[in-house]
Every structure is written in C-alpha cells, then in structure tokens.
C-alpha cells in the first residue's frame, strides 16, 4: 500500500487581514530655520573726528555705505535654502498575505519629511528588487496594476502604525507634507493567478518617494541648484541620509520595500492499515478484508477562509466502513448511507464555525477528517 501525500483542491473565500505595526521611529521636533526665511545683517560704526562724535553710519553689502544716518545703508541679506531630508519606510516588518488571483492587495508604507519646511513628494511603486532579500523570502513573481493612496489616518513620527485602507483615492504625489510630519501610503496591486503565484511564494515590491516641486503635483522633480548661492532665491540641497536597502544619500530619492506572500490551503492525506484480521499489532498487511484508515489534514497558510469544503472519493476496490467518518475527532454522520464528503462537505478548524479554517499550523487550526474503508 502506497502511503502518499496529495494536494486536493478545496473551495475557499478570503478576507483581508489587518496587520499591526511595531516599528517605532523617533524624530526630534524641528527648530531649524525654514527655507525662504530672510537672514539679514546691518552693522554700524561710530567714530569721532577731532574729538567730535560723528553721525552713525550703517553698513551695506558689496562696495559698502558711507552715507551717515540711521536710515541709510542697506542690510546684507540672503534667503535660507531648502535642505530636503525625508525617508520612506515599510511599516510592520512583515509581508502581506495574499492568494492567487487576488486583486488590489494592500501593503503599507510611511513617508516622513524632516526638511526645513513643507515639501512635495512624488510616489510610485514597482517590482524593482532591493539588493538583498527581505523577510527571508526570495522574490518569485511580479505584482501588477500598482495604485497608490494616501491614508486619511493620522500619522505620528513617534510611533509606527499600519492603518487600514479606507477607500482613499489613487494619487501620484504627497502635496505639501509639513516639516517633521508623515503620511501613510497604501500600495495596492494584483496577485497573478496560480501557478505563477502559488502557496509559499513571495513577491517583493518597491515604493519610491522623490522630492518634487511645489505645485507640480509630482510631475517635476526637485533638482539641486548650481554651486553658488542665489541670495534672493531658495536653492535646493538634498540631504537625505538613509542607506538601507540600496538607498543613496543626498539624491532626493528614498526607497522602501515590502512583500506579498501567497498562502493557500495545503492538504495532506495519509493512509494506514489498522487491522487485517490476522497479523499482530503493527504488522498489518493490505490484504482483502483489511481495514484502512485515511487521515486528511487541511492547513491554512494564508488568509482566513470561509465555505471551505472537502470532496473525497472512496478508492476503487474498497468499501466504505459506514459511520467511520470523523471531523476533528467528532463523528460526522453519513449522508444517504455514504461517506459524508463524497458529495462535498463543509470542514472547519476545531472550535471554528462550519467552513472556517483559521490560518495556522498547530492542532488548534488544522482541520482533520478521518474515514475507514475495507479492502475488497
């Protein structure tokens, strides 16, 4: 008698899980001078001629000033330039579970602006890979149809969270993100069908945040100005410092990576001869009249299921032992005198509602069906 494991298809419906984040990042509140602030200096000089104090003279830039009087002279001024600092981060250190063919599956990122003033950021997602695998899983397939959405949920730079997508509109940029504040960004994408996406495979995706100019809605990226300062205008300096996952400092771009992980149901089936009418215990042979017990274990590696249904067949050359079927150890009544799963029947995790198999690999979640046949 061959004892083998088989995969069987079962029907399932899926529900998205809400994942809880736990990766705090702390930023000190900004006291840095905002860009576009004018810095101004007017010096003055007092002096005497032949013992007589003279009217004060104020300074001027360039060739200077020699016209006396407090109302004369010109301030030496320059504008504070933009120091663009920001980071894009994945929020919860774990992949988002998906299943083959599931569309618009959400991963969550956070973008934080620590520039010396408000800044726009273009956001985009793709299948570009980080220099090393994340979450211990290699990338096995691509996601498609990326859309990005900015969460309406409050974002704190002190505590990392993972909010739930609430139907926010798709967009391509974050507008005027205030200094020392953040926004959560949802990336939604579609999972390919089986077998491209199969149980246990992962897809790593990338979010790219790039500093973009005010009012361009993400269309125009910021560029660093030439070498000399333009005292009358706000110049740009890129100063982001992140180097994780292949990020390059001071280039106006921050990337973060997240992952989708395909979890489906796995079904294993084993058979054991439990008596043959002749042999001692443990030496049973598969001979006519022997009783074989089948054990089918269904484990959920993915999202919570409902309406899980098992369909079994009685193998050729065997006869079902009536009343021998159990689900999770409890008797399951025959249907019309036949094994109850021959026409398809709901199964569930122990203590779960009918049809519900909870994700997990312990006895508390695995649905176990047993039935017996005799060999003809």
């Amino acid at each position: 008698m061959l004892i083998k494991q088989q995969m069987r298809r079962v029907r399932l419906a899926v529900v998205a899980l809400a994942l809880i984040g736990a990766a705090p990042s702390a930023f000190a509140a900004g006291t840095d001078t905002n860009y576009n602030t004018d810095i101004s200096n007017t010096a003055s000089v007092n002096y005497s001629v032949s013992g007589v104090p003279q009217t004060v003279i104020n300074s001027a830039p360039g060739v200077g000033n020699s016209v006396p009087g407090a109302g004369n002279g010109t301030a030496t001024t320059f504008k504070v330039d933009k120091r663009i600092m920001f980071i894009a981060e994945e929020t919860n250190g774990a992949a988002t579970v998906t299943s083959p063919g599931l569309t618009q599956v959400v991963t969550v990122f956070r973008v934080t602006n620590t520039s010396n003033g408000a800044q726009d950021f273009r956001i985009a997602a793709d299948n570009i890979q980080p220099p090393a695998i994340i979450f211990g899983r290699a990338d096995a397939f691509d996601m498609s149809n990326f859309t990005l959405h900015i969460s309406a949920a409050a974002c704190s730079t002190a505590v990392m969270a993972t909010p739930t997508f609430a139907g926010e509109a798709a967009t391509t940029f974050i507008g005027a993100l205030a200094e020392d504040s953040c926004r959560y960004v949802f990336v939604r994408s579609d999972t390919p069908v089986s077998p491209t996406a199969a149980n246990g495979l992962a897809s790593t995706i990338r979010l790219v945040a790039s500093a973009s100019t005010t009012g361009s809605s993400g269309a125009t990226l910021e560029t660093e100005s030439g070498a000399a300062d333009n005292a009358a205008a706000v110049d740009v300096v890129f100063a982001e410092t992140g180097v994780a996952n292949g990020n390059v400092i001071n280039n106006g771009v921050s990337m973060a990576f997240d992952q989708y992980f395909v979890g489906t149901l796995t079904v294993t089936k084993t058979a054991a001869v439990i008596s043959d009418g002749f042999s001692p215990v443990g030496q049973y042979k598969a001979i006519p009249g022997a009783v074989v017990e089948y054990t089918i274990s269904v484990q959920n590696n993915g999202l919570v299921t409902s309406a899980a249904s098992l369909t079994e067949i009685i193998p050729a050359n065997t006869t079902y032992v009536t009343g021998s079927t159990t689900l999770n150890g409890a008797a399951r009544a025959d249907v019309a005198g036949a094994m109850p799963f021959v026409g398809g029947g709901a199964i569930n995790s122990p203590s779960a509602a009918s049809g519900v198999i909870n994700p997990g690999s312990t006895a508390a979640e695995i649905a176990v069906v047993r039935f017996r046949v005799t060999i003809n």
Binding site: I39, N41, S44, V45, D81, A228, A231
Partner: protein, 163 residues
C-alpha cells in the same frame, strides 16, 4: 590803551564748524561694508589644511556663516574712537571664540545694553548671576584702540551658525 579785538570763545567757534556735512555732500568719513561668506578648507598634497573665505554656497540650517564688517576711512583727517557694532542676526547663533578684530577690543552683550569682554559678561538667571554663554550673545562690538589714519582700514569678523 589797547585798540583791537580780544579773541574769546575761540574753541567753541571751531567746534561748531566740525560736522559730518563739512567733509563731503552727504558723506561721512567711513565706508562700512558687511559681507557674508563661508570658510572653505582645502588640504594640499602634503596634507596641510588651509582655510579661505569664499562666497556663500547653499545656506541651510547648520551652515556656519562668516560675517566680516569692514570700515575704511575715506576722509583726509583721522577717524578716532572707531567702534563697529553688529547684532548676531535673527535665526543665527554666535560661534564661541570666533570673533576677531585686529587692533580692537571685542565686547559682547546679551541684553543690548551691557557690554563686556567674553570672560566678564554675565547674565542673571533665576535670581543668580552667572557667566553668559557664547550662544546667548546677541550683539558684538569692536572698539578700535587707535585712530584710523586717512585711507586706513579695520575690520571685525565672527562666525554664526544658521539655526
């Protein structure tokens, strides 16, 4: 009996005629410039560092700006008791020990009224008097010890960090 004028009130007459207007139409005796620059450090092939002042590049929080105030005597008479005054600009913080002014005594002030040398300037905090910290200085002045001869120049310089 003497005939003739006795000369009295001599000095007063002379004093009245000395004013800034006497030297040129609308001009005083000092040309005052205020310039903002940054220090650029270069290291030569031997590893020796040299510093020079260059025009501002980008100025963002954390950048140190060197302010130089230059006074030139453009009159044909000496300028005496020359004092250059400056306020540390708003949004900037004075860099300790950075003020120089060849030929001058440098004084600082926190409240704009009391000036003293760095090691003597005090503030009162919670009823107690303590030495003022350089990051608290709001004003600086350079008191030049000698008169500026015609055509002579002096300067005051200091660094401040943009907050």
């Amino acid at each position: 009996m003497f005939k003739g004028l006795k000369i009295i009130g001599f000095a007063a007459v002379i004093a009245c005629s000395v004013s800034s207007q006497a030297f040129a139409q609308g001009e005083g005796c000092i040309v005052l410039k205020s310039i903002a620059e940054v220090e650029q450090v270069t290291v030569n092939a031997k590893g020796e560092k040299s510093t020079k002042l260059v025009p501002l590049a980008k100025v963002v929080p954390g950048v140190e700006v060197t302010w130089t105030i230059t006074a030139n005597n453009i009159c044909k008479v000496p300028s005496e008791k020359v004092v250059i005054n400056d306020a540390v600009p708003e949004h900037m913080t004075y860099v300790a020990n950075s003020a120089i002014g060849p030929g001058s005594d440098v004084e600082f002030s926190v409240d704009g009224k009391t000036f003293a040398a760095a090691d003597q300037l005090t503030v009162v905090e919670n009823g107690a008097t303590r030495k003022a910290r350089p990051d608290e200085y709001k004003r600086i002045r350079w008191n030049f010890k000698n008169s500026f001869a015609p055509g002579a120049q002096g300067f005051g310089r200091y660094r401040a960090i943009l907050n």
